[in-house]
């Protein structure tokens, strides 16, 4: 063995001088067309797939020609989307004719896990990979949205239609009850850091907050492929952060050969959403509804509000309506009311729009033996359908790889981006969030009067009936809200590859993120007026005053984040005696990150002079909303040691094992938790390589099994008493520093541990015309950390403790087929479906909880109050144990008491389990057709049987004439919809029921009625794209190697459960969500 090594070392420099010429042409085996840009390389080493530095790319005619060392035996020819071929060059060296075959599933294509490279043929773990070009869509800012329906076991759902809004991604269910469920994003081996996607995106504060997420700065055009690591064997190498799965992004690199230039340009039109989907009342309906309320003295909630009541009250005829009816009103009143019916402000057009947007990309790549490069620039500009919202991004990417000598390579990559996201500014109660406002504003309200002055909405008032004058146009004109995120990532690699299978590499990744946000509101804005209200005080003479100075309010925040990851690995891979394939990797990783956030506020701000006015009143000290400066600093460090071992015997039996120790700075944490071991083992049996099983039509049949353990600890819990600093004033005039504990000390906290098992198989048939992969998994997370209530005498309400066990099980099926393939026509289909079922095996609950425990049910279990229609007076009826009960019986309401006498346990027993909020099945179906120069791609994603709860469209006891409602309210009291009732409405015990729902139902059971819950299933055709490749002959004269034009329609159709009162099935129930954009785009892509 040693002898061989010495020979190789000795021979190499000499061999470099002996050269021979190779040349040939690469063509597509089906249509015999030349393949342009295929890479042709010499294989020198024993490791078959390894690329050497000698070779090049095919030219415009698919031809290549270069010199190779004399002893070179094989040429490796590869091109994306085709199966790689190895050609012997020991005899014929010139005029080689190499035919490449299109591959469906690329068995031998290299898959990067971020630490290692492997191929599907060798893999023992569960992962799934897509090529960026297959999922690329125009008009989508970030790659996360493009993943919807593309990957089995990966559930991707948009949270909101706003540009730059993140997608909610769940890989194989939820393993935690209150932590983050985000997967880990990895860019070319470097884990990205950034904001977590909030788990509840229907929350008004999460949805309107401008934020950037880890992948927001990455140009989708730069991405080559995306690999999702799913089981423990695949993810454990990433350590504790990988508990929710890992998404590895591999970016494009340059290829040796002549300089190639790609230009693409696209325009996309975002359509104004179909406002009629909200089913809101029009002016005439709303006027009738107000007349109805006014004619019912029992429905007296805010009865003086709404334009009809104002007209009637101003003429002193309010009571006449109930007594004499509409015809009994004076002609003057009748005319004024009827005039309202004719004013129909089109709120859909005032708040939403159709926009024309653009995106451009330019890339250059090429290289020689010493250096390959890739450069790209991107511009993306999207104005959202919601007026005032949008996103603009610039990208610059530079990647260079230098071959310092035959063994040593140095790579440097820089990813720079600027992301500007802007949106409307709304006050903290979100009543002026356009999506919510448009549902509540009266259709007869105008925006400007005859003089062009703003008409303020008289029905938008604060709780205490304070009218602060809101007009949506004024607000839009006088406020702004934007976030500019500058992100700069760079990755440096040094790679030493020896001929003996030993490879040393070290990688340094740097990530700088700077986010600046600015929220400005002019003096003349509702936002400022509402803010001013918070500064109200009464002086000694009893006069109400405000300490907020006149002028605008400007709020700036600046956040800086820096992290570096430095990773070093040693890898040894060798094939012994043609059958023992051994691969060993050991490595270390160091990571450190710092975050600094600074929030500033200035009052009395003048945007012209840029001056502000300080607040001198002492009262401001006690109001946190006026805190002018705040700073937050965080600093963390991590070290890890890891290793993997893989052994494959005769390409039939493989075992793989990995182990990682993660250490982190844990301030005041029990030192025994400083290093966490995370490990996995996996094995595979490639049955198709057994001689007794091999067959000509069977490409591959492989069974895989893996097992692994991942751990996590709670960094906020310590055995010591840890405090945070604050200031407090106990007595007037003296501010003192205080230290408050962050939580109870707890020395006994155990790790959160997740055990996963994965069973799967891969089957390829008929030259990969059919490829099937299926996986079954079981994942159990024990000792999940959460809050547990403790006796108050301990000094705390809750402590962090190991309180729950959750398991997830499910299956994934991927089926890729080439249905038709001939010279002119090709049709291929990619289908995937997955199902996940979670179960809370163990959970401690709080005795005071209103809703039932999830124990024995899914982590997203939905419990509801079962209703059973309404009685003749519109009061809701309930179903319990097969019997129909009145509200009085159901809630055990009794006269003379305030509401219900139920204990909390009885209250919990009111609920019935009705299903799960996580979909039963999710997946996607992509069909690709190619006919000559035309190609057509249709992608769909689906989600079946998911329960979604929406906010009730009205509240039966507090229906106010000041608001507009969905037309659903017109059927209140019919069918299953509860009727509108007041304290004095007709019916038996109505007052008791009224009082319950109006004030004493503190558990909000009305919102939990089953009628507000819907089972949603949908299929969304997220993209239809038709492309045309211009004929090569015509382009040649222009020196263009290829050109393509396309049109694409995004989100044109959704089939499935009828969605009423909301725009989209994905955001059903969320009244603050912006609609998911429907787009038509057209574009051009040219390569030189």
């Amino acid at each position: 063995m040693m002898k061989h090594l010495i020979y190789i070392f000795l021979l190499f420099p000499i061999a470099a001088f002996a050269q021979k010429q190779v040349s040939g042409q690469v063509i597509d085996i089906e249509n015999q067309e030349p393949i342009i840009g295929a890479s042709v390389y010499v294989s020198l080493t024993a490791v078959e797939q390894e690329r050497s530095v000698v070779g090049g790319l095919t030219d415009i005619d698919g031809k290549f020609s270069f010199e190779v060392p004399e002893q070179a035996k094989n040429l490796i020819v590869s091109f994306t989307g085709y199966e790689t071929q190895t050609i012997k060059i020991d005899q014929q060296t010139n005029d080689l004719k190499i035919s490449l075959k299109l591959s469906v599933q690329m068995l031998d294509e290299i898959v990067t896990t971020g630490y290692q490279e492997t191929t599907l043929r060798k893999a023992t773990s569960s992962y799934v990979k897509v090529e960026a070009k297959d999922i690329k869509q125009v008009g989508v800012a970030d790659v996360d949205q493009m993943l919807a329906g593309q990957l089995a076991g990966v559930w991707v759902q948009p949270t909101n239609g706003a540009p730059g809004a993140p997608a909610k991604i769940r890989i194989r269910g939820t393993a935690t009850l209150n932590g983050s469920s985000d997967p880990l994003w990895v860019l070319d081996g470097i884990p990205l850091d950034g904001n977590q996607v909030p788990s509840d995106f229907t929350d008004k504060d999460n949805i309107d907050q401008l934020k950037t997420y880890p992948i927001a700065g990455i140009n989708p055009d730069d991405i080559e492929s995306i690999t999702v690591l799913k089981d423990a064997a695949a993810t454990s190498i990433y350590g504790a952060r990988a508990a929710n799965g890992v998404i590895v992004i591999t970016t494009k690199t340059g290829e040796k050969g002549k300089n190639r230039i790609n230009i693409n340009a696209a325009t996309f039109i975002t359509q104004r959403p179909d406002f009629s989907k909200l089913n809101l009342m029009n002016s005439s309906q709303k006027v009738d509804f107000e007349l109805f309320l006014a004619s019912r003295p029992d429905l007296d909630y805010q009865s003086e509000r709404g334009e009809v009541a104002r007209i009637l009250n101003s003429l002193g005829e309010y009571d006449d309506l109930a007594e004499k009816g509409f015809s009994g009103l004076s002609p003057e009143a009748q005319a004024a009311i009827n005039k309202l019916r004719t004013t129909n402000t089109n709120w859909g057009e005032e708040l939403y729009r159709t926009t024309i947007n653009q995106q451009y990309g330019l890339s250059m790549s090429g290289g020689n033996d010493k250096n390959v490069y890739y450069f790209s620039a991107g511009y993306y500009d999207e104005q959202a359908a919601t007026i005032g919202a949008g996103k603009r991004r610039f990208n610059l990417t530079v990647k260079n790889t230098y071959s310092l000598n035959n063994y040593l390579k140095f790579g440097a990559a820089l990813f720079g981006s600027q992301n500007k996201t802007y949106s409307y500014l709304r006050e903290r109660d979100a009543i002026t969030s356009p999506a919510a406002y448009v549902r509540n504003v009266n259709p007869y309200l105008g925006l400007r009067d005859e003089n062009g002055d703003f008409i303020y909405d008289p029905d938008l008032t604060e709780i205490s009936d304070v009218d602060l004058d809101y007009n949506v146009l004024e607000e839009r004109q006088n406020t702004s809200n934007e976030l500019i995120a500058n992100s700069f990532k760079s990755i440096f690699n040094l790679d030493l590859r020896t001929n003996i299978g030993l490879r040393l590499s070290t990688q340094l990744g740097l990530q700088f993120d700077n986010e600046r946000s600015e929220q400005f509101s002019d003096e003349n804005s509702y936002f400022t007026r509402k803010f001013e209200l918070r500064s109200k005080y009464t002086d000694s003479s009893g006069e109400d005053l405000f300490y907020l100075p006149k002028g605008g309010i400007i709020q700036n925040s600046n956040s800086n984040a820096f992290q570096y990851t430095w990773k070093t690995t040693a890898n040894y891979g060798q094939l012994f005696f043609d059958r023992h394939d051994v691969d060993i990797l050991i490595g270390t990783e160091f990571r450190e990150r710092t975050n600094t956030d600074i929030d500033n506020k200035a009052f009395g701000f003048n945007p012209n002079t840029l001056t502000s006015i300080p607040i001198t009143n002492d009262l401001v000290l006690t109001n946190s909303g006026f805190k002018q400066y705040q700073k937050f600093v965080a600093h963390d460090a991590f070290t890890s040691f890891f290793g993997t071992l893989s052994y494959i015997y005769s390409s039939k039996y493989s075992i793989y094992s990995s182990l990682r120790y993660d250490g982190s700075n844990l301030f005041g944490v029990n030192p025994k938790f400083r290093y966490l071991p995370i490990w996995s083992v996996a094995g595979a049996w490639t049955l198709s390589n057994e001689s007794f099983f091999s067959s000509s039509y069977l490409d591959i049949l492989k069974f895989r099994v893996s097992y692994g353990i991942q751990g996590n600890i709670d960094k906020t819990t310590s055995p010591f008493v840890i405090g945070t600093f604050n200031t407090e004033s106990v007595l007037p005039g003296i501010e003192e520093e205080v230290i408050r504990t962050t939580g109870a000390p707890n020395a006994d906290l155990r790790w959160e541990k997740t055990t996963s098992i994965n069973l799967g198989f891969d089957l390829g048939l008929w030259g990969n015309r059919v490829f099937l992969t299926s996986d079954y998994y079981y994942r159990k997370s024990t000792d999940i950390i959460g809050f547990r209530s403790v006796p108050l005498e301990s000094g705390f309400n809750f402590i962090n403790t190991n309180w729950a066990t959750i398991s997830n099980r499910g299956f994934e099926i991927v089926l890729n087929t080439v249905n038709v393939s001939n010279k002119r026509f090709r049709w291929s289909t990619a289908f995937n479906i997955s199902s996940n079922k979670s179960k809370v095996n163990q959970i401690e609950i709080r005795e005071e909880e209103f809703t039932p425990s999830r124990k024995g049910y899914g982590a997203d279990a939905v419990f509801a109050i079962k209703t059973d229609g309404v009685d003749s007076n519109g009061l809701p009826l309930f179903k319990k144990d097969g019997r129909t009960l009145t509200a009085v019986e159901f809630y055990n309401l009794a006269e003379g008491t305030d509401g219900s006498q139920l204990t909390r346990e009885e209250h919990r027993n009111l609920y019935t389990y009705i299903g799960d909020a996580a979909p039963k099945f999710t997946g996607g179906l992509n069909n690709t057709f190619r006919y000559g120069p035309f190609d057509l791609q249709i992608s769909a994603n689906f989600s079946f049987k998911q329960l979604v709860r929406r906010l009730p469209s009205y509240n039966m006891t507090v229906t106010s004439p000041r608001l507009n409602y969905s037309t659903e309210i017109l059927s209140a009291g019919e069918g299953s919809l509860p009727g509108l009732i007041g304290r004095k409405s007709r019916g038996f015990d109505t007052e008791l029921v009224y009082r319950w729902f109006n004030s004493f139902d503190v558990g909000n059971t009305y919102d939990h009625f089953d009628i507000w819950i819907k089972e949603i299933s949908y299929v969304r055709i997220n993209s239809i794209r038709l492309g045309y490749n211009l004929p090569n002959q015509a382009l040649k004269k222009l020196n263009i190697s290829s050109a393509r034009v396309f049109v694409e329609g995004r989100n044109l159709f959704v089939f499935g459960t009828k969605i009423e009162n909301f725009f989209d099935p994905e955001t059903y129930g969320s009244q603050y969500a912006q609609p998911i954009p429907r787009m038509i785009s057209t574009g051009l892509k040219v390569s030189f």
């Binding site: 600093v633 700075n665 010591f720 008493v721 405090g723 230290i739 005498e793």
Partner: protein
């Protein structure tokens, strides 16, 4: 070979140590208290937790009348009508957890006395305050949720759980009232040993000082009916701070405010905005005053447009009050009167007049003296209790005074229904709040 092994293990050792160094990051903004300055900030946090018990007991006692029509009255009506069995859901809970939160802080300071670094005098003062603050928590707790102290039954009467160190896993059973008082007295004595500041400066007078701990101890003895000890302690406190504010001279602030010369410890909130808005001062209290000659009347109350009176003691931090010198005089007057005998009665009246010459106009005081001078012991005690009612109106004393003395019958009309708290009614002791019972089955 051995040498190589040694070299390798040395290298590995260095690597591991340097990794630990790499991970040793002292985060900004987080702290494990070590120095006396940090422990001071820690104890200041304990002082700063606001507590509502004095406000809420005012609703239970006889100083105010609740207006049934006001918004938000449902939060108080079941407290006001002593409906502890099935209060409505909006009823405000009496504080419980917050006392134990403060106890957690004080326990931590006390337990780490030896660990604290810094100036020994500062450490002594700090730990002394922690003992005092802990004693105050137990004193307030046992007087909310335990029966009034009665020497003959204190061993068997149930008090509250005692916690002197943190342990979330243990059970917390109720201790006898005797045990709780023992802890209070022992904490006060530990505190006396350590405190070295005689009186705190204005602004810092929420912190315990020698005069505060002695005032506190005098009150504890008063509640235990240990009259002589109560007198001794009150005199010790007065020796440090005898000041009284003369309302005939200065009416600009109230004697209960933190910056009055009478303030000894200004820690507890006594009045809330709600008391001012949804209740008015009871007729019983109003009619107790000599409206013309008693300067306190106009100093304490303002007349509303409807003819009722509301308290001028407000919700701002200015009105925080726990101990003030007037109480020392009242304690002396009461304790001497309780001891009985002519000489003691004269001493009692002497202290009463010393206080009241700062409250009544000279003419009023003359009339008062004429009325009080002939009183026998029982009547004098009665008069002193009424004087306490007048002096400490809406300062959170009344409920405890009723508990430890007559436990009289209170009758009140609310929303058309008459409610009665019988004499010696069990409801003079509060049940533990619901959240406490839910979390601790041993209550």
């Amino acid at each position: 070979m051995m040498k190589k092994m040694a070299q390798i293990s040395w290298i590995i050792g260095v690597l591991m140590i340097s990794c630990d160094d790499y991970l040793d990051i002292e985060p900004v903004g987080l702290v494990i208290p070590k120095s006396v300055e940090e422990y001071r900030s820690f104890l200041t946090a304990a002082y700063s937790f606001p507590k509502q018990h004095k406000i809420l007991t005012t609703y239970r006692a006889d100083e105010i009348t609740l207006n049934g029509d006001e918004l938000g009255v449902d939060q108080y009506q079941d407290i006001y009508t002593w409906n502890d069995l099935n209060p409505n859901l909006n009823t405000i809970d009496f504080p419980y957890a917050v006392f134990y939160t403060v106890i957690f802080y004080t326990n931590h300071v006390i337990q780490n006395e030896k660990e604290i670094t810094g100036d020994q005098e500062d450490i002594d003062q700090l730990v002394g305050e922690a003992y005092a603050l802990r004693a105050l928590q137990y004193f307030d707790l046992v007087n909310l949720y335990g029966k009034p102290y009665d020497e003959s039954n204190a061993i068997s009467d149930e008090g509250v759980p005692i916690v002197t160190e943190y342990d979330s896993e243990r059970r917390f059973a109720k201790e006898s009232i005797e045990e709780v008082y023992k802890l209070i007295i022992s904490d006060i004595e530990e505190s006396e040993k350590r405190l070295n500041i005689e009186q705190q400066e204005i602004g810092f007078n929420y912190r315990f000082s020698l005069v505060a701990i002695k005032s506190f101890k005098a009150r504890v003895f008063l509640f235990q009916k240990k009259w002589q000890q109560s007198i001794d302690l009150a005199l010790e406190a007065l020796a440090i701070k005898p000041d009284l504010m003369d309302l005939n001279v200065d009416e600009s602030i109230m004697s209960s405010e933190y910056n009055s010369i009478e303030s000894i410890l200004a820690l507890d909130l006594v009045v809330s905005l709600d008391i001012i808005q949804n209740a008015h001062v009871s007729d019983e209290l109003i009619t107790n005053y000599d409206q013309l000659e008693d300067k306190r009347f106009s100093n304490y109350f303002k007349e509303n447009s409807d003819g009722n009176y509301s308290s001028k003691k407000g919700t701002l931090d200015n009105f925080k009050c726990t101990f003030r010198t007037a109480e020392l005089y009242m304690i002396l007057a009461e304790s001497y009167a309780r001891l009985g005998g002519d000489q003691n009665l004269n001493l009692s009246k002497g202290y009463l007049y010393q206080l009241l010459e700062n409250r009544y106009t000279p003419a009023g005081l003359e009339a008062y003296k004429n009325r009080v001078e002939p009183l026998n012991a029982d009547d004098l005690i009665q008069e002193i209790l009424i004087e306490r009612q007048r002096e400490f109106a809406l300062e959170g004393h009344r409920w405890n005074d009723l508990r430890r003395t007559t436990q009289k019958k209170i009758t009140r009309l609310f929303d058309g229904t008459t409610y009665v708290l019988e004499q010696n009614d069990e409801r003079y002791t509060l049940p533990f709040p619901q959240d406490a019972i839910i979390n601790n089955p041993d209550l």
